[in-house]
């Protein structure tokens, strides 16, 4: 879970990192007042859960309250990187002498915590790593290791700090490492760390991503008003609905509704559709042994999506059984109906029984099953993918 800049700064401040204490604005009036309070100038920074705000036009300098009002009005009306702007942080303007980078993350491949420092801050650090790798300094730590003061001192020296600035850098480096560990972070970053012309150091931006799976032991975040949130851009209405129902779901750009099993095959099944010349309208993960209610909800998401022209269904009966799957789908078709053609394959546990139930149901109420094609183990999943692509083309 990614935090907003102003939230991350609160956490950094608790670890004694000097952060620029800006003022949060939720209207152009607020922004103008904030700039007035900061002495007539300031930096307006949109609070969105994405990096690269500067490039996307989300960070702007204002040299008067009036200008701040105008800029804020524009920013609140705009979408920055697909995010609506609800809050703007107004930070004091600093006299910048130099910008540095500090970050802590996890090296998943080597199972280490990595502290990254660079004297080339204020820009995209991945770009620096590509173009001038000699300007990136890395220190690795085991998961149970603390960082000692002398180690932080060493990192400060690598950044080129001397004298008072070196001394001032040590608590910032330690504070960042300690914040990373204290809050179960996936990433904690100060970019840029600003050295001002009067020789002071400031964390001018702050980024923290907390491990969602560790939130259960960080009640303090909730107490600070930091709520669990969706972090990958604005959700579509359907994605919001699916999330409410607890179904992993993404809208995509194509026209084939995907009604697969688990996440792994969900990802692969989308590729299959592409290989056979089609485009999926969504990603979805049924989870293991979906209940009739969950199956119904999955199908409603697809049926009510106007982009969906045909539905691809696949069930691998594992511990859950294909006959239970069939019963759930049949119940949905009879109660709700399905406006799109659907091709479904069942294999694994009790697949013959699943196919038989569909055939019986079709004899009883043929009108409900007119556009439903049922297959068993003898039809490879690749053929089902092809058929779904054909059905979508026919429906055009």
């Amino acid at each position: 879970m990614r935090l907003f800049e102003f939230e991350a700064k609160k956490l950094f401040a608790q670890k004694k990192i000097p952060v620029t204490q800006g003022i949060l604005a939720s209207s152009p009036e607020d922004a103008a007042a904030a700039v007035r309070e900061l002495g007539g100038e300031g930096v307006l920074k949109v609070q969105i859960l994405s990096g690269g705000r500067g490039k996307a036009g989300g960070i702007k300098k204002a040299e008067s309250p009036d200008e701040a009002y105008k800029i804020a009005e524009e920013l609140f009306a705009a979408k920055i990187k697909d995010y609506e702007v609800k809050q703007i942080l107004v930070d004091p303007l600093l006299d910048i002498a130099k910008e540095y980078y500090l970050g802590v993350t996890i090296d998943r491949a080597n199972y280490k915590i990595v502290f990254i420092a660079s004297p080339s801050g204020g820009v995209d650090i991945e770009e620096v790593a590509r173009t001038s790798p000699e300007k990136i300094y890395k220190e690795k730590f085991d998961i149970d290791e603390k960082m000692y003061g002398f180690e932080a001192f060493g990192i400060g020296k690598k950044l080129g700090f001397t004298g008072d600035k070196l001394k001032a850098s040590v608590p910032i480096i330690l504070g960042l490492y300690n914040a990373f560990k204290a809050y179960d972070c996936k990433l904690a970053e100060i970019n840029p760390l600003i050295e001002t012309t009067d020789g002071k150091l400031w964390a001018a931006d702050a980024r923290i991503s907390v491990d969602d799976d560790a939130l259960f032991r960080h009640k303090e975040l909730g107490e600070m008003g930091i709520e669990k949130r969706h972090e990958e851009g604005e959700m579509t209405e359907r994605e919001k609905q699916a999330r409410e129902w607890g179904i992993p779901y993404l809208d995509l750009e194509g026209d084939i509704g995907m009604f697969p099993g688990g996440a792994g095959f969900g990802i692969m099944g989308n590729d299959f559709i592409h290989y056979f010349g089609g485009k999926p309208a969504n990603f979805m993960d049924s989870g293991g042994g979906p209940s009739p209610e969950r199956l119904a909800r999955m199908l409603i998401l697809l049926d009510e999506n106007p982009n969906v022209k045909a539905i691809f269904g696949a069930r691998f009966g594992g511990i859950s059984r294909c006959d239970d799957f069939a019963k759930g789908v049949i119940q949905f078709l009879r109660e709700h109906g399905l406006s799109k053609p659907m091709v479904v394959r069942m294999t694994g546990n009790m697949w013959q029984e699943g196919v038989r139930l569909f055939e019986e149901a079709k004899e009883e109420t043929p009108e409900v099953f007119e556009k439903i094609e049922i297959h068993g183990i003898e039809t490879p999943i690749e053929e089902i993918s092809k058929r779904a692509v054909e059905l979508a083309k026919e429906a055009e």
Binding site: I143, G233, G262, G348
Partner: protein
């Protein structure tokens, strides 16, 4: 032969008295898996499916000589359970639950390395050596003893691949689920080396997906293997920046795309398959 688990493995279920623990203990026993004991702190002395329950892993090992553990506990309790098992001398731990904090998994991995223990998961469907032992939540129906190993981050892909191998008469030696979480107890390269040392495994099918760097890390190992590796990577057409179901399955920046994984593994000598039906064709071409 097989890797990691076979009919002689003496298995302990941590969290055996919970609903998932009980349900899957019965399934595993029905398959013929040698479940010798279980743990549930405070419930020592009880029995589940005829299996004795102990308060601690130490007690369980003393009484049953357990050497392998499978964990069915809520995520917040997994770190303690896994490290208890590792310290007690268990050599192979399978972590079934998902949503284990990253720091916890890193700590588990660190202890496992110290003690020479292999950990699988979290968020894995488990591991099966067909006809001998089934540890976790995999359905038996897709599997048949044979000569190809599989290693995958996804349960559902393991079933489809095994089903393909079973129906094309190759069968499987062992099928390993690494798990769908972002930080895992074991990685592709480690499991591939084990398969390479198993004389019965004639080829390995490796299924990866977008996100992370575990697939890439397998490349230098694949170069050195005697055993051919067929590789499938899911998410060639996945949109960047969107998480697809598995917590680990997200393309961040230019890292971890399916195309880059495929290219690196192909260069290392792996045989790429786009669909399941291509797998037996490739194996046939390799005279497996």
């Amino acid at each position: 032969m097989a890797i990691l688990v076979d009919k002689d493995s003496r298995i302990l279920v941590q969290g055996i008295t919970g609903s998932a623990g009980q349900f899957h203990t019965k399934r595993m026993i029905d398959y013929g898996t040698q479940i010798v004991g279980g743990t549930s702190p405070g419930k020592g002395g009880q029995e589940v499916e005829g299996v004795p329950v102990f308060d601690t892993v130490d007690e369980c090992i003393d009484a049953t000589e357990a050497d392998t553990s499978v964990i069915f506990l809520p995520a917040p309790f997994v770190k303690e359970a896994a490290i208890e098992a590792i310290w007690a001398g268990i050599k192979f731990v399978v972590v079934i639950p998902e949503h284990i904090p990253i720091f916890d998994m890193m700590e588990i991995r660190q202890e496992a390395k110290k003690y020479g223990t292999t950990v699988l998961g979290g968020n894995t469907a488990g591991i099966i050596t067909p006809g001998e032992a089934n540890l976790g939540i995999m359905p038996d129906i897709a599997f048949k003893p044979g000569r190809v190993g599989t290693v995958s981050r996804s349960g559902s892909l393991t079933y489809y691949v095994a089903d393909t191998l079973t129906r094309s008469d190759y069968g499987e030696t062992t099928c390993v689920g690494l798990g769908g979480d972002p930080v895992l107890g074991s990685t592709f390269d480690e499991i591939l080396k084990m398969f390479d040392d198993d004389p019965k495994t004639r080829a390995v099918v490796m299924c990866g997906e977008i996100g992370g760097v575990y697939e890439e890390r397998a490349a230098p190992v694949i170069k050195k293997l005697k055993t051919p590796v067929v590789v499938m990577i899911g998410g060639v057409f996945a949109p960047a920046g969107k998480r697809m179901g598995h917590a680990g399955a997200i393309v961040e920046g230019s890292m971890g795309t399916a195309r880059s994984k495929l290219r690196i593994l192909e260069e290392a000598g792996a045989y790429p398959a786009k669909t399941f039906s291509e797998i037996p064709q490739i194996l046939k071409g390799l005279n497996v």
